[in-house]
Amino acid sequence: MKADESLDCVGLYCPMPIVKTAEKIKQLKPGDVLEVLADDKGIKKDMPAWCEATGHECMGMEEAEGEIKVYVKKTHD
């Protein structure tokens, strides 16, 4: 999946990937897609939950060799 920006959270445990995603999303424009890289498996449930709470869109996830890529689309400011 193509992304406008990437955020590396590999090595960070919950809640840091979510906290950093919230920070980074502020810098994007509505419509932009953020790619978040993490290795904490919790993100598979955390990110959809964060998206549900904030209204942004969880576009999908890819997992390879222990590294998870999550794609989040900013829907509003």
Partner: protein, 162 residues
């Protein structure tokens, strides 16, 4: 989301142990990152988390002065709730946290403040334990009582007691 639409998260922090403080601040920062309006009320042992790390805690009366010496507090001095083993357990916990790049309690508190989480000490606990406003770290909201807290709690989507 406008200010009026924000969901509230209220956390009562009664405990003064490192592990409980970490749990409280992890939940607070996560709530804030989800757009919630987060308030934390520190009462009894929870006040230890907000005490400043440097300097001495001034208080009036012999018993309170003795108490604040034995119970110095401050985010850097807190102990884990079990297996403290005279400080060895707490030291090990801090080492493990560094190993997995976990932010320290001090870093989490600063992060929470930067994200707009309100840190509120309880007036009665302050009076009981003899802690004045200058005994706390910077950036603390003014003291509040139980009625103020309960009014916030009744408007909160989520209320927690740690």
């Amino acid at each position: 989301m406008t200010e009026t639409e924000k969901e509230k998260l209220t956390i009562v922090v009664f405990s003064g142990e490192l592990d409980r403080a970490l749990a409280a601040f992890m939940l607070a920062t996560t709530g804030a990152s989800m757009g919630m309006d987060v308030s934390m009320y520190f009462t009894f042992w929870g006040l230890n988390i907000l005490k400043k790390n440097e300097g001495s805690i001034k208080s009036r009366g012999l018993m309170r002065r003795m108490f604040n010496r034995v119970n110095r507090g401050g985010s850097k001095r807190l102990k884990i709730s079990r297996f403290n083993m005279f400080g060895l357990g707490t030291w090990m916990m801090k080492r493990l946290m560094k190993e997995i790049n976990h932010p320290s309690l001090e870093e989490l508190i600063t992060m929470a403040q930067e994200m707009g989480v309100k840190l509120i000490p309880c007036t009665t606990s302050c009076g009981l334990m003899g802690i004045q406003e200058d005994g706390f770290r910077s950036g603390i909201e003014s003291l509040a009582g139980a009625a103020f807290f309960l009014n916030e709690a009744r408007q909160s989507k989520v209320t927690l007691f740690i």
